[in-house]
Each structure stands twice: as C-alpha cells, then as structure tokens.
Symmetry: C3
Subunit: 471 residues, 3 copies
C-alpha cells in the first residue's frame, strides 16, 4: 500500500491545487530529458565490463553509507550490515543484511534515502509491495531474480535510465583504461568521463601522502623531484585526464581555505612535509596553497574546479578502523567561504573561462556567502545541495536561499554524487520535481511568468550542467 506513493504522479509537488497544476506542467517539460551527471562515484569498469550486479544486499545496502548509517543508529551493529576491512573476518550473509534493511524500513520514512530506495524498488525492480520484515525473503528473492535477468546489466540500464553523461571520480594515477575502452567502443553511446581527484596527493595530513607524492613524481614527472617537479607531474596527469575526457577536478577538503605562497615558501613547506617535519599549521598552509595551485592549473588547462569542504571525516575512530572510510560517520561542521576562497578569487575570480563550483554542507553559507559570490564573480557557480542536503525540503531551502540574490543562472545543475548506480534516476527525478515545485510557487505568486518558468526549468535541468561543466 505505502509503496503506491512511489507511483503517484504528483509526488513531491506542492499541495496547493493551483500551484500543483503549474508544477505538473513544468515537470512535463523536463521529465524525459536525458540525465547529465557531472559528478559521482560509479565505477567505470563496471560499465565497461558490463558486470552483472551482485545480490540485493551488496547492491543496495552494504556499500551505501546513507543506508547503513540509519540502521546502525537504531542499534544494529555494522558487522551485520557490511563486511569489515579485515579480509579474514566474516562478512555478514546477504540475506541477513537484506532482512536488517527490511526490518529497519520504517526508520527511513521521510528521509531522502527512503525516497530513493522506494522509487528504485518500484521503478527499477518492479516491486509493488512495500518492503517489510515479514516479506524480507520474498523481496530478496524478487530482486535477486531481477538482477539475474539478461537485460539487467549496467550498459542496458545506462540506456534505459536515459543517461547521456556520467562522470566518475578517479585517482590521479589511474590509467583510465575503462574510460578509454568505453570511448573507443562503438556499441556504447553514452559518455563516461573521468574526474581528477587529487586529495591524497595534495594534503600532507593524508596518511599516504608522502608515498603518493613519490609515486606521482616517479610516474608523471619530468625528472625533477622537488616542488617544481611535483607541480609538473600534477599538470601532466591533469592533461592525461583531459585527453581521456575529463572535464573537472574535484577537491574534498576539510575547509575551503586557499593560500597564495611565493615559490620559496611553497618549496620549503613541501620539503618539510615530505620529511615529516612540518607542523600541523604548515601542513594546512601547504594544502591551502595547493588549492591555489589547482585553481591556477584550472585556469590554464580548463578543467572545472569543484570544492567539497566541511565534513569531519571518520568521526568515530573505532568504526573507521574496523570498517574503513565512507561508513556513515562523516559529520559536517560550520564553514566560511568569504575569506577562505579570496586568494583564489583575487587572482582568478574574474577569469570567465575559469569555472569554480562551490559546495557546502553548511546551509548557512548559501544566502550569506555563496549567492553573493556567484552573483559577482563570473567564475563562481553554486554547487547543488549535496549529501545530507540532497533532499526535497533541503533543495527547496537552497533555491529559496540563493535565487533572490543570484537568480537561476549561477547554479551547477543537479549533482547526484552517488555510488549507487540504480538510484541515479530516482535522484534526478526528485531534483526535477523540486525545481518544478519551487518555480511553480514563484509563478503562483506572480514573481515569474509561466512562459519564463518553462525556459528556466529546461535551463536548470539541461543547459546549466552542460554550460557549467563545459560538456
């Protein structure tokens, strides 16, 4: 019964009948447009090799920290939900994991994850009953059967989902073989683009940084081993990514701080960091300077620069030790962009070929800092609401917070940021519904004409991501 809400044509649209009617007509304009996903975490090799999906738990539960998080909060230990890091330890049985989700299902009411899962259950897996503890085996079997169908493969779904562009997130030293193979494959019609993600090569506080830097210089440098050689190696890998279709470089940083240093100071911090003698403040300065360098390189090579700050990663150390990163305990904190991003904007902010997309998990910066920045600097774009904020009410708050200052032209377009391939249509559909809902209110309040709203929603869904990500 509850499952029927996933099928309701008016889901997420405003309740007021007049406004809903406007929203329906706006939604109709964009509902069938192709999906453009310029930032996410799907594995290109899975698409290239057309790897069949594993069982329901390994596909939909264990790797999705959005999902295991809330079940864990209800008191189910993670060892019943996902495999531990230690390969010699026992991983939970799939059917047991699935049952844990089914029993915990009521916890997801009202959540973004619950909305996406319910949408997938109905539209991707064809379940017409709500999942529940009582029917856990039946739903496990039904989804398992679907996963084994010949047409339920990544490439077929890529087409069925109407995905036009899908960007992955990749290590700078990745050979991008899967991307190359897909690009060369005449039977595959989508675009799967790599994204340059150099965090572990830029931040000396990252555990493997020194080793990463050695490998980077060895594999991609010009023979020099100092700071100049390091910069050259980074430039070379960026070029390699661009040659393989990359349009952006993504930066997951603790804070949005940037810092311009002269060459001697940068060199000195680099060497102190490599030798392990740098203080915490020096490591922070070096990372902030590397953000400046990345901006400089983006100006030169054209890669769109995206910044994702403000998450305290791996908040619970024991969980990190046993289960690794991305296991549900990355917790946001307050950020400030206005001063932090200024060194980059001073030098590159009015370069209109430079595209800098700023994300936040701290909603307060939307109206206070990001909309004013994006409303002046041609380089700055508002990153779509991300992670915890990628949800219906939060997306409405975002539009309300930024539009009156920055209009509709300065935002990135929707970013699904997901590693859950089958959730991509649900996420983009939800975003389109919320854009329709927001615009419908403005039309109903005579703030935007209905004609213009039709143009705007097409621009938001389709033209914005192409423009911002240079697609």
């Amino acid at each position: 019964m509850s499952q029927s809400i996933a099928a309701h044509p008016d889901r997420l649209l405003p309740a007021d009948p007049g406004t809903r009617s406007i929203a329906r007509s706006l939604l109709a304009r964009v509902q069938d447009l192709p999906i453009i996903s310029p930032h996410g975490h799907v594995d290109a090799a899975v698409i290239e090799q057309d790897t069949p999906f594993p069982d329901p738990a390994a596909l939909l539960v264990s790797p999705d920290h959005y999902v295991t998080r809330l079940i864990h909060a209800s008191g189910v230990p993670l060892d019943r939900l996902r495999p531990p890091v230690d390969p010699s330890a026992t991983a939970p049985e799939s059917r047991t994991v699935w049952r844990a989700l089914c029993e915990a299902w009521p916890l997801f009411e009202g959540t973004a994850s619950g909305y996406w899962l319910r949408d997938q259950f109905r539209r991707v897996f064809g379940l017409d009953q709500e999942i529940s503890g009582a029917t856990a085996d039946a739903s496990f079997d039904a989804i398992s059967a679907r996963l084994q169908e010949a047409d339920f493969r990544p490439r077929r779904l890529f087409k069925d989902f109407n995905i036009e562009v899908l960007a992955t997130t990749d290590d700078p030293l990745d050979d991008l073989a899967a991307h190359r193979a897909l690009a060369a494959d005449a039977t595959f019609h989508g675009r799967v683009l790599p994204t340059f993600r150099p965090d572990a090569y830029l931040n000396p506080a990252a555990p493997a940084w020194a080793g990463n830097v050695e490998r980077l210089i060895a594999m991609a440098g010009d023979g020099g081993s100092g700071f100049a050689g390091y910069l050259t190696a980074l430039q070379n890998r960026r070029r390699y990514f661009i040659e393989h279709g990359a349009v952006s470089a993504d930066h997951g940083v603790r804070t949005p701080r940037t810092l311009k240093l002269d060459a001697a100071d940068a060199e000195r911090l680099f060497e102190r960091s490599r030798s392990g003698r740098a203080t915490g403040a020096e490591r922070d300065d070096f990372e902030a300077h590397m953000m400046y360098q990345m901006a400089r390189m983006s100006v030169e090579d054209g890669l769109v620069m995206t910044i994702h700050p403000g998450s305290f990663r791996n908040h619970h150390t024991d969980t990190f030790t046993k289960y690794g990163a991305d296991t549900g305990h990355d917790i946001p904190f307050a950020v400030n962009y206005t001063e932090a991003i200024r060194p980059v904007l001073q030098d590159f902010g009015t370069n209109k070929d430079f595209h800098l997309v700023l994300f936040t998990l701290d909603e307060t910066v939307f109206s206070r800092e990001l909309a004013p920045l994006a409303g002046f600097y041609p380089s700055v774009y508002l990153g779509a609401p991300w992670w915890f904020l990628d949800a219906p009410d939060a997306m409405l708050r975002f539009r309300s917070a930024v539009t009156e200052t920055a209009g509709f032209s300065r935002s990135s377009g929707f970013i699904d940021d997901t590693r859950a391939f089958c959730s991509i249509p649900a996420r983009h559909d939800a975003s389109r519904r919320i854009e329709a809902a927001f615009l419908a209110r403005l039309v109903a309040e005579h703030r935007v004409s209905e004609d213009r709203a039709h143009d705007i929603i097409v621009d938001l869904v389709d033209a914005s991501p192409r423009r911002v990500f240079k697609l």
Copy 2:
C-alpha cells in the same frame, strides 16, 4: 473576539484545505494521549503538598521570564513585574503586575508565549474574552476566583491535564523528600520523577562551586576528599536519584565541549580549581572533562544524559544583581557540536544503552550536525526545539531540517521545559498540532503514506519519549 481563536479546532494546522484535512485526522490520533514530560522545572513539593496556586500575577506573570521579558522590552521596568532579590525591597502589588500584562497584551501577538497564555486563559481559566488593559481588573478577579476553587489544585489539575509522567529538575544534594512522598502515596497516580542537575558542582566558574564540592564530598563521599572522592560522591548521588525514580541527568553548559583527561591531569585541575589558582582555560578544561565523566557514569548507571548548551546566561549584569537569574536576558550564541562532543562519542557513542539527548538554541546545527550525528550514533538523540525554538514555526523548521537525514525515530519527543505548570497542556497540544501539520504536508506531497503517518505521529508523541527517556 480574538480569544475565539484559542478555541478554533484547526489552530496551527496548515491553511491548504486538503492538507488541513489530513492534519485533522492525524491530530485526532494523538489529541487525547497522556502527557509525558521528561524534562521541566515544576516544583515537586507543590504537587506533593497540593499547594493552592497564588494570585494570577504570581502564577502567570512574575516568575515567567518568557512573559516579563517582552513587557520589559516595551519599557516597563522589572520592578513593576517581579520582586527583586533583596527581600527588604518592595515587591510590586499583584493587581498592578497583572495590569501590566493586560496592557502589554498586544505585544504577545504572534509569539509562543502569547499562544500558550491565550490557550490557558480559555481552556484552564475559562475566560471567553481576550484580556486587555480595559478589562484588567475583571480578568484578575475572574482568575483569582478560579484559583480559589476547590478543584483548582495541583493534584487535580495533574489528573485533568492527563499528565502521566512529569520530571522535575533538582540539585544533586536535594533529599527528594517530595518525590519519595508522592511515590509512596497510593492516592496519587502520576509519576513525578527527579532529574539530576549537577552544573553547580561541575563547573569551577560557578560562584559557589568550591563550597558545593565540599558539601558534596562531605554528604555523599566515601571519606576521600580528592578527585576520586568527588567522583564517588557524584556517583552516589546519581544512585540516590535513580533510587528515587530519576531517569536522566541534565547539563546546562555554556558550550557542548567535552574532554578526556588522564587521572593525573584531572586531579591536578580539580585541586587547582578548588584552591582558586586555576586559569579560565583550566576551569573550562575541567568542566569539559566532567562532561566526559558524566557520560561515563551514564553508561554505567543508565541515566539518560541531556545537554543544553549555547545560552549566555545573565547577559545584563545590573538586572542579574537586582533580580537574579532566569529573568529574561539569557541570550543564545553559535555552537558547534561536531568536534566538541567527539571525545564522548569516541568512547561511548556506539553503546546503545547510552542515551545522549543533544539540545540547541542555534538552529543551524540541526541539519548540519545534530541530524547527521543522530543518524549514525545509536546513543545520540535529537533534543526537541527548546526555549526560544519551542514555537510553531520553529518546530516546523526543526522537522524540516532533521527529518530528511535522521527520519522520525531519532528525536526525543516533545520537551516542555517549563516552570509554568498551567501551561503544560497548551505546550503539548501545540507540539502535537505541529507534528500533525508537518506530517500532513508530507502526506499531501506523497512522501509518506497516510497509514504510516498515523503510526509515526503516535510514535512521536507517545513512544519516542518513553523509549528515549527509558520510561
């Protein structure tokens, strides 16, 4: 005339007719459920001794800083509204105080206090006319007459209000005689539970701290006078509270900072604080460490730990000197939980028998920090919107901010936090209406099915506080 809005069955429900109709049906499910009040400031002795209520001003105006605050802001000095600290000074006459409220009544339009007062005037005191300066004497007399009726006594109202559980807030050295007497009284059917509130024994910056510590160790210790004896005395008093029905320990702290120290450092800070030699930073460290210790004890003895940070107490010194604490000038400021609470969560966060309820007066942490924390740690619960945020729009903002990340299962249930006994039904009624309003919107937007919404509202109003506060 205006008073009639207090009687409207649809008050606080959404205006859209379709959504309102859903909200009505949700409200009907919970409107008659008993009141569970796990945190507040009513005096247990008043209930135990069934003390008649004083006059209208002393009951409804003078002690309620929510009310005197706004009259004071309009230019009425506090000496016309409440007695000063100095017992030799003249206290204002009750009828005069009441007249000040009546004349100031228009100031309360749109406020939470105004809503609760209007509800009480109609439903508890039976006034059918709006109060006003012109009718001040008449309303004073009418309420005075009601206060003298035989059935207008605390115990009878406790029953009429349908209160099942009422927690008080108590000094650690309180003998809890009133609680004990009530528990032993076969003619009284409610539960009145003490709450352990040790702030003045934990924070060396509190003026009486050193003396409190001496008394604590003398009255409840094991003979040792050092840090270990102090901890033992605290443990003993917690046990005493538990034996008298306490389910929680409450902490009103300036910031949510917690700190783990080794025994030697803790001992050293304790002794430096006792001898008055501690710096401000050392006193802060000691208090932060005592929050860690309180968490450890909660893990051991099972008391729910509640934290209320972020209020700058007694902002105006002259007012504090003349009228004491809780006189309307406690002003919130920005807080950050993510790093501050981490030491406690590192060690105890995944202990699911540990219940930690986090409150905030800074709304920005709801979506940014508290929902993500409560959405991972089994120990963490979202404290209901509190104090200035305990109001219709603020409660809706809270639900919107947290639900998409943490769902409905991770919140504490409504907390009235009041010393105004007669306002308890109004506050709980308002909360239930807002829960119905929020859920009705989700139903109208096809995000939650109506069936599930009925389950959820019962859970929010009734099961959540029982579960979170171990009732």
Copy 3:
C-alpha cells in the same frame, strides 16, 4: 507578456486561495499609506535642485551595484557597464550599457533586483512590454523620453511616490546645505533628513582616517587636539546634524564588536593610531571603543544608533582599484552579536530612550541572537532584512525567525537603503505585500485574529518606523 506580472494585483501574495484573500484585505489597509524611509542613500542635492534624471543607463544601471553585479557574473566586464575611477579612461556609452542590461534581463528572473526593475519599468516608466535584447533601443528611447518630461523630476516624483520622510546618509563634515534649503523651502512638503555616518572618522584602518580626524578636530573641535577634543568635535557635529533634522547615526562596521576602555587607554590607542604605530588589534580595539562612545553619545543626544556589520567590503581588489567601492563585490560573512554588543548593552541597554537598531546579513542571528536581544532590552530593535536579504522569501524567513520570540513590536519597519530613487515605491510595495502575506498565514492558521492583523500591519508599515526612528 512577462511584464504583465508586474501589474498583477496579487503579486507576492500566497498561492492558497483562502490565505490570499486574507492577504488582499490586509494589503488594502496599507497600500496607500505614505512612504517613510528612515535609512537610504539618495543625494539630498538632487531633490533640492530638482535635478533632471540622466539617461536610462546612468539612472538605472551603472550606479546600481545590485544590477551590474549579476550582469558582470555572466561574463560582461564592468568597463561595459559603468565608468572607471580614472577620469581619463573612456566611460561606456549609455545606449551600450542599456543594451547590456536588456540582453542580460533573463538573469534577473527570481531576483529582488529583477522584481524592483520590472515594477519600475511598468509603474514609473509605463513600459508595457518586457525588456529584451531585441527591443533594447526602443526601451532606451521610451525611458529617455519619459526622463525628459517636465513632470519627471525628483520633487514631483517625491510627491507622486507619496514619500513623507526620506533620510539620506552623510559625511560628518557635510554642511547639509541641501537639507537646510529643503527645510526652508515652503514649496516642498516632504521631510529630507540627514544621517550622521562617521565610519571614516572612527575606524583607524580606513585609509583617510588620520586626515579625516585632523579635519574634524580643526573644523568642529574646541581647540584641544587630543582624544577629548576629538570626542568633542564628534559631539559637535552630531549636534549640527540634529539641528538639521537628523534622527539617526549609522555605522557600517566590519563586525559588531564594542569595547569599553578607560580614558587613558582610549587616549593611548588614539595617539598610536594617529601616528601610524598602532597594531591591527589596537586599531580594532579603538574602533570597537568608538562604537561604545557613539552609543554613549546617542544616549545623551538622542540620535538613534543603527549598526550595519558583516560585509567584507571590496572583496576583489582589482575591481576596487579600477571601479572603486560599491561595485558589487561586498560579500557577507558570519557575525555574532551576543558577546560583541554586550559592553554597550551592559551600560545603556535598559535606557529606553536609547534606540539601537541592529542589522545583519547573516540570517542565522535573527532567531538565535537578535530576537532574544530585542525581546529583553528596551533599547534594541530588529533591523529589517537588509541588502541581499531585502527580498520576498528572505523577508518571510525573517518574520518567521523573529516573531515567535519578539513579536511584531520590536522591528524597525522597512528600510529601503537604496540609492536608486525610482525604486523606492517598488521596494516599499514589496515589503507591504510580504507583511500581508506573513500575517495572512498566521490568520489562516488561527494564530492571530484578522482584526488584530489589521492593526499589526498598520503598525508595522507606519507606526513602527515613526516610533523606532523618533519621527
């Protein structure tokens, strides 16, 4: 076609039909009330001399950083939109500037600036077609023709716009000749009041501070050249402003920090700042102390004190160098009032003749700090949403954030803060519509009676600014 939305009688009113009907009736009560504008940036001389308005671009585009900002963000360099600082450089041709606006017009959909411009186009300039790149010449010519009409002069518009009071913002050493002439002119019936704006004389970090101080002491002092003479000179100029009709002193500060110093420390910082030896921290302390002194003088001379903090001025240095201040790159940041404003409130906060109006660009302080402060201190008033927040949704968020704590009596009334004379009616009209929209929701939810809402909206629009600004 789109232009027709500017004519819709229900623009900005809520979509729900029942609520809209209430809002219409509330709006009707205030739609024809005179405009009271107690803070803005119009030039008094323009009114006094009844200077004809220049061409469309110089009137509506080039000087308005709200407008050039967003066109600049789309990639149009500022040299095509406004004249540079260097008088020998070429200024862009007016028709070209106008065309840039017309071509960029879709960027303004959903923004506050777009709303005001569209309203002006229709109601002030009588355009009945939406502007667009294709019709740029036609709209330029139409507006140009209107500007040359004999009745399109500042004094006539002042009357047509139904402006009763208009405050300007003036340098402390301004002779206020235009204000004096207007006051003496029996043919002019409005009030044009100066506002004392001493930032450049108080903040030692301002480039011209030392020179300003010399001029101030020379022109307005009592012969003494030290700190006491400086204070006396400031007092004298405040008196001069009061004699010319000023009701307020306005302070554009980086942060809201205030600081009480004893005379010797103040004198010392003053001399160190004058001699250029002060550290950054000392200059900050001096400015914070001067805010304390300004409060003290306001208590003595009765000028309302208004504080506008939290903007990082001239964020992009190159733009500042070429185009000067107020060119669209002032970017807000987080502020905290609770501790910062305390020194002033400790000493003057309960003086009810002291009026202190606190503004913010950081919305988070509305519910957290400003409403609690204004809900206790008789001196504190909530500044209306300002600058980026002076927009329909932001104004609704403001009312929702503050009303439940502070009611409707503690806010300043609408502040247009504009240098765009022709936009004044549009801005006040939008504000009145939003007040009606907010109150209508409270009526529809049975939180305020319709009768009282009618009183409240008149108070908000008319009585509040008169009361708060002592008009």
